[in-house]
C-alpha cells in the first residue's frame, strides 16, 4: 500500500514539474511578447504590415514608371531640340521668302553678262545676311541648309552641298519676318550694293507660315570625334 502511494506521488511530482516548467516558460515568452507588441493581435499586425508592404511596393513601382516616363520625355525633348538645331527635322514658322534671279534686262553689246547673273558668292552672302539677322532655318530651292552646308560654283550653275541649283533661287528663312526684311533692305547694305545695283531680280515677301524640309545632306563625321568640354590641352 505504501509503495503504491509513493509511486503515485512520484508521478504527480513529475507531472507537477512538467506543468510548472511549461507554465513558467509560457509566461516568460508571453510577457516578452507583450513588452514588444502593444496588443496580442499578432495576426492582425502581420496583416497590416503585409498590406503596407504591398502598398509600398505598388508606390515604388509607380515612382519607377513615372521616373522612366519623365526621363523618356526629357530625352525626347532633348533629341527633338538637337534635331531642330542640326536641321534634321522639318520646321515651320513665320519668315520671309526671297526670290533671286538673273537680270532680265536686255543687255547691250558692250555689257558683260557676267555682271547680270547670280553668282554663288552673292547667294552665300545673302544667306549669311539672313543668318546674321537672326534666321533660325533657311532653305534654298526647297533644300534645307545644314550646319556643314557650303556653296560652290560649277560652271554656270551653283551647287549647294552636292545639289545643283538653277535660277530662280527661292530662299526661304524662318525668323522674325520684320527683322529679316529690315536687315536685308538696310540702306547701304549688302542687298542694295551687291544685288539691286546689278539689276538682279529680287523679290522679298513675308510669309506667315513657311514649311522647310529636313536637311538631306551627309551627317557623317570621318575625322571629328566628340571631345570633352575642357579641351585637349
Amino acid at each position: 500500500m505504501k509503495i503504491k502511494v509513493r509511486s503515485w506521488q512520484w508521478g504527480i511530482g513529475l507531472v507537477a514539474a512538467v506543468l510548472g516548467l511549461l507554465i513558467v516558460l509560457q509566461l516568460r515568452t508571453e510577457l516578452k511578447i507583450r513588452a514588444k507588441l502593444p496588443t496580442r493581435q499578432v495576426n492582425e499586425l502581420a496583416q497590416i504590415l503585409k498590406n503596407q508592404q504591398m502598398r509600398l511596393a505598388k508606390y515604388e513601382s509607380e515612382i519607377a514608371t513615372l521616373r522612366r516616363q519623365v526621363s523618356d520625355y526629357d530625352r525626347d525633348r532633348e533629341i527633338l531640340r538637337l534635331k531642330m538645331a542640326a536641321g534634321l527635322t522639318p520646321l515651320e514658322g513665320p519668315g520671309i521668302r526671297i526670290t533671286l534671279s538673273d537680270s532680265e534686262k536686255k543687255l547691250k553689246e558692250y555689257e558683260d553678262p557676267v555682271f547680270y547673273i547670280v553668282h554663288y558668292d552673292q547667294l552665300e552672302l545673302l544667306i549669311n545676311e539672313l543668318w546674321a539677322a537672326g534666321a533660325e532655318a533657311i532653305a534654298v530651292n526647297n533644300y534645307r541648309l545644314g550646319s556643314t552646308t557650303g556653296f560652290s560654283c560649277a560652271g554656270t550653275t551653283i551647287l549647294v552641298d552636292t545639289r545643283r541649283l538653277a535660277p530662280p533661287y527661292i530662299i526661304e528663312a524662318i525668323g522674325d519676318p520684320a527683322n529679316l526684311k529690315n536687315a536685308l533692305l538696310m540702306p547701304g547694305g549688302f542687298v542694295e550694293q551687291q544685288i539691286l545695283s546689278f539689276n538682279l531680280k529680287f523679290i522679298i515677301e513675308t510669309v506667315d507660315r513657311l514649311w522647310l524640309p529636313a536637311y538631306k545632306g551627309s551627317i557623317l563625321f570621318e575625322h571629328a570625334t566628340a571631345a570633352s568640354e575642357e579641351g585637349g590641352n
Partner: protein, 122 residues
C-alpha cells in the same frame, strides 16, 4: 503531498533558468498544451476523489492530451481551421466541469466529516 510541491518547484526553477524561450509562433500551441495538462490534472484529482484513480491512465492522459492538443492545433493552423478555438472551448468546459465536481466532492466530504464529528460530539 510534499513530493508534488517539490516537483512543481523544481519545474518552475528549471523553466525560470532555461536559457531559451518558446519561439513566438509556437506560443499558441504551448498555451493549448498547458490547458490540456491542467485538464488532465483536474481529471486526475477528480478520479482520485472518486477512488477511480489509475496512475498509468493519469500519466498517459497527461502527456498524450498535452502533445495531441498542441499537435492538433498546429495541424488545424496548417489547414486553415481554427481548431485552436475548439480546443480552448473543449478543455475549458472540461476544466470547469471537473473543478465544480471536485468542489462538490470536497464539500460533500467536508460535510460528511463535520457531520460525523458532530455525531460523535453529540
Amino acid at each position: 503531498m510534499l513530493i508534488p510541491i517539490i516537483g512543481a518547484l523544481i519545474g518552475i526553477l528549471i523553466g525560470w533558468r532555461l536559457p531559451f524561450e518558446i519561439p513566438v509562433n509556437l506560443v499558441k500551441y504551448t498555451a493549448i498544451a498547458i490547458l490540456a495538462a491542467l485538464d488532465a490534472i483536474m481529471g486526475g484529482i477528480r478520479a482520485q476523489l472518486g477512488q477511480k484513480f489509475l496512475f498509468s491512465k493519469f500519466i498517459s492522459s497527461f502527456f498524450a492530451n498535452t502533445a495531441l492538443a498542441a499537435l492538433l492545433c498546429y495541424l488545424g493552423d496548417l489547414m486553415g481551421v481554427d481548431i485552436y478555438i475548439g480546443a480552448v472551448v473543449a478543455f475549458s468546459i472540461r476544466l470547469f466541469q471537473n473543478l465544480s465536481l471536485i468542489r462538490e466532492e470536497l464539500f460533500d466530504r467536508f460535510w460528511w466529516w463535520r457531520s460525523g464529528r458532530s455525531d460523535k460530539d453529540m
